[in-house]
Amino acid sequence: MTVVPTGHHVYPGRGGPGSPRLLAGLAGRHTGGRQVGLHEHERLFGPLPLPLPPERRGGNGASEQRAASRLIDLVERSGLTGRGGAGFPAGRKLRSVAAGRGKAVVVANGSEGEPASHKDRLLLRRAPHLVLDGISLAAFAVGATEAYLVVHGDDGRLVASLLGAVQARKVAGLDQVAINVVGIEHRYVASEQTAIVQWINGGPGLPTFAPPRTHERGVGGRPTAVNNVETLAHIALIARYGSDWFRQAGTPDAPGTALATVTGAITRPGVYEIELGTPIGDLVMRAGGPTEYPQAVLVGGYFGTWLPADVARQARLSGSALRSVRAAMGAGILVVLPESSCGLAETARVVRYLANQGAGQCGPCVFGLPALAKALAALVYRGGSGDGVDQIASLIPLIERRGACRHPDGATQLAASALTAFRDDARMHDLYGPCSGVRRPSLLPIPGAGLAR
């Protein structure tokens, strides 16, 4: 295992090992602040490395096709994986879409569904041209003439600033692809990729049953590459600086950097750019350290995994390292749970929220998640029955992997990991009733929850 230096230093631009990449233009705590405009963006990162279209060059398109194939090779060699949660190899996705039948479509997913995540919004607000460069490059790679940038429709300011950024590029004649900014419903499952495709196609923003898979038949029935906006921003840098440069950060099996949102009992909550392979403990210290003795860390978000603090401290942020502790990067969310909080109560509230956020389409999710939420609430707030844990454990296999999308699986994963990470706690609840932590205010944000528990 290679020892990986963590990035504490800030250099502008492409920098050396350990310096920020996506966040290179942004100083300080990476929250709020102004947008990096097109001029500043090009000064920081250099021009968009896109060959001129054949009609402006007098070519016949053959060299363009070779260039597109070279770009896909480059992304494949970089080892970049999707940063939206599933972690699928980005180059392989581009290749399969490029090989599909019909004119391809590129969709950039910036509709961060995870309430505890802020990285995609940060990127879109502060460094939109990295994302737009990535869209342009992905479109070139797969031969798309049509692209969509999907964000939450209720964020009017973001939509307006993105439209402005797209317009600035149009004036500069940068993109060979028409980029449409699309606002979708602010709802957990609406940001799932089949839901986005159905919404763009004029249907409801709800997940659909696969097959057909999006990369084969997506927008307008055409092969569609749906990529997270951070993934595309990485492609913007890989196209400029190469795959070897990308691999200078991270580990051989998890190269590059990633954005992580750190919240909870932490001194400086915010979005941090980390090298993959960084131990969670190092990131927590970079964020100023915990504000209270930590009990556990939620890794990956609301479809993520609770890790006990001692496991989390040493766990490295990469797909394979987290897999060995049965966790996953997800969308790069870390929530530090203080000793005084009740992890089971946090879990119960999130599962209740997820149960309410379902699309209402699949039976196991429609009936299973409320049952799971109810069983968790009974254990947390009443307890004392002695069979609460068993009830929860028996519900989980009745729900997981039985929906059309992964929404129910996320909730069961969270619940199952809570029973493991807070095993002693769960037993105490089950035998003797609620702990003092259940009265603490909710640490994990529950949108629209108000004061309801």
Binding site: T208, F209, P211, C362, G363, P364, L398, R401, R402, A404
Partner: protein, 90 residues
């Protein structure tokens, strides 16, 4: 060594449908818990507490293939399907 057509040998080894494995898949969006599939294939399909079928992600046993095909045909919601070969994804 004589050339022997593989398909002939294979067709006598099982139910006569060949060696391609078949799996049942339910479209959970379409399924509305009629339960007819579990009625036809109680050895293979169980119902959850809410009446929705639990379909194992494994090949349908050869002797149940006929019933599996019938279950697909009679599903009122058209939610059941047979996929050939290995399960793709899930």
């Amino acid at each position: 060594m004589f050339w022997r057509p593989q398909t002939v040998a294979a067709s006598y080894s099982g139910s006569g449908v060949g060696t391609v494995s078949e799996r049942l898949r339910v479209n959970p969006i379409a399924c509305t818990a009629h339960g007819m599939c579990a009625e036809l294939l109680p050895e293979f399909i169980a119902l959850d507490p809410w009446g929705y079928p639990i379909v194992p992600d494994e090949p349908v046993p050869d002797d149940l293939r006929g019933l599996a095909a019938r279950a697909v045909a009679v599903c009122p919601a058209l939610a059941l399907m047979i996929t050939k070969g290995t399960a793709e994804g899930r």
